[in-house]
Structures are given as C-alpha cells and as structure tokens.
C-alpha cells in the first residue's frame, strides 16, 4: 500500500520534471495580452498531450501542459461519507485562500478536488524543483491531514456522546 503511494508520487514527480518547461508566450489572438494557454485551449499547436495518472479507481492526477502554463488537478481518496465532507470543506478552505499559495487555482477542474496552475512567471520567480517538491509534499500532507481531521471528528463525537448519555445512566 505504502509502496504504491511512493511509486505514484515518483511517477508524478518525473512527469512534472519533464512537463514543466514553460516560457513566456504572448497571446497570439489579442495584442498585448498574455494568457495561460492551458486554460484557454484556443490553439492546439501550443498544447501538449494531457497526462492522466491513476493510482487506483479513487485517486488520480491530471497534468495538462502548454507552452506557458501547466495545470495539475488532483482527486484525493475518499473512503466514506465523512471523508468526503471533510475533504470538500478542507480543500474549499484552501482554495478560497489561493492568493496566498500563488500556484493554487480558485476552482478545481470539473471532476477533481483541487487544481494548481503554474505559469512561466512562477517558474521565473521560484525554482522549478522546489515547485515540484511543493506539489508532491502537498499530496502527501493532504492524506495525513484528512485522516487527522477524521480521527479528531470521531474522537469529539465519542466524547460528546459519552458525556450526554451519562445523564441517562
């Protein structure tokens, strides 16, 4: 189980290393505009093949690259209803503060839980391998966070129930 996680993250890291080759490219259609081509998808010659890496039926990662931008969308494992709700709330909390993260996208791509948008400007200001480390670390930490949240929710529920039901003994 742990080894598949390691292989999955290695695969994503290798693919990102190869895919993060971004350069500045002003918009071809509109003068003096500079837009992330992966979001608009207007010119097919500027886009590379999208890559879908699935670890199993529940977890997957979509990496779409273009000449000046790269979009990474993640679907996190959600085993039951409680994890479903916790994941949605937690990732919504992060997405609303996307400004602070800089590379986070405000809305996840349809069908996924969270998305990152990395542009050539990010690659110029920040180091490429550090960006990749951040994404991979994020994926590891998300799983830990969600399990911690679930455990604390269950513990709180148990304590409250015990206290409440004591009065009926």
């Amino acid at each position: 189980m742990a080894s598949t996680l390691r292989l999955y993250l290695t695969c994503i890291r290798n693919t990102l290393e190869a895919a993060m080759c971004l350069q500045n490219f002003p918009c071809q259609e509109v003068e003096r505009h500079n837009k992330p081509e992966v979001e608009l998808k207007t010119s097919p010659e500027l886009l590379l093949n999208p890559v879908l890496i699935c670890r199993n039926e529940a977890e997957k990662c979509l990496i779409e690259t273009s000449i000046n931008s790269l979009r990474i969308s993640l679907k996190v494992k959600q085993a039951d209803e409680l994890e479903n709700i916790l994941t949605k709330k937690f990732l919504r909390f992060l997405s609303m503060r996307a400004e602070a993260f800089q590379v986070l996208r405000r809305k996840p791509v349809q069908g996924y839980d969270i998305s990152f948008l990395i542009t050539n400007y990010h690659c110029e200001e920040m180091q490429k391998h550090k960006l990749i480390d951040f994404i991979v670390q994020f994926m590891e930490d998300i799983d830990k966070e969600i399990s911690e949240l679930k455990m604390s929710a269950n513990t709180r529920g148990r304590l409250v129930a015990t206290e409440f039901l004591k009065q009926f003994i």
Binding site: L7, C11, A18, L47, V51, I53, C54, N56, E57, T65
Partner: protein, 135 residues
C-alpha cells in the same frame, strides 16, 4: 485529400487487424513458454505502423496490456529490451495509467519508475510532445 486518406485507412485497418490477430496468437504461445520479454517485444513491434483507426488502437492496447501484465522481473525486462522500444513503451505505460484499473496501474507505475531511470526525462517529454501518433 481526406477522402483518399480515408480509403487508405480502411484497407490498412483490415490488414492491421489481421496482423494483430497473428500477433496475439504468437504472444500467447510465447507466454506459455514463460518468455514474457519476447512477448512484450513482439507486442510493441508492429505498433510502429501507427494508425488513426480506434479499433486498431484498442486491439493494439489489449495485446500490449496482456504482455505487460505478464512481466514479473522489470529490471531484467528493461535490460534486454532495445532502446528503440522505450518511447513506444512509455506511450503504452501512460495509456495503462489512464485506465484507472488497480492491478494495471500498479504494474505500470512499477515499470514507469524503472523506465524513467533508464531512458531519462526525454522519453516522457517525447510522449507529451507527440500529438500526432497517439496510442
């Protein structure tokens, strides 16, 4: 121009389907003789004749998938496979990873790690950049 291409595709498609059936039989016999590496090499060979026909692509994929799942020793397989097959193998690995089926994904992830160590990031980038010949 497109019409002529359509004709060529139709004839080629039938020929390719027949070739794939021959290959499937050959691969089954090789797998029975416990020669998974030869089976994989046979599976990857004919795919150089790239085609746009969806049926041929899925038939190719089924054949390669069968050979891939039979591989147990990944290091040995990669050392005996010629480097000209690395690019096409990478394409099929990513196709396998996009299926989402657990055993396929595990096997593909295992091979992907070792193949990247051998072939480097150029192999991945060639797959990303090749929008014409997709599998």
């Amino acid at each position: 121009m497109a019409g002529a291409e359509g004709f060529v595709e139709a004839d080629n498609a039938e020929a390719i389907m027949i070739r794939i059936e021959h290959k499937t039989r050959k691969i089954e016999s090789l797998l029975k003789q416990y020669k998974p590496v030869e089976a994989l090499r046979t599976a990857l060979e004919g795919t150089h004749a790239m085609t746009r026909d969806e049926r041929c692509k899925s038939a190719h994929w089924i054949v390669v998938h069968r050979a891939l799942m039979a591989i147990k020793d990944v290091d040995g397989m990669l050392s005996s496979l010629d480097s000209e097959y690395y690019d096409i193998l990478m394409k099929y690995l990513y196709k396998g990873l996009s299926t989402g089926d657990r055993p396929t994904c595990e096997q593909c992830l295992r091979i992907h790690e070792k193949l990247t160590e051998r072939a480097g990031f150029g192999c991945i980038l060639r797959y990303l950049a090749d929008t014409l010949n997709t599998v």
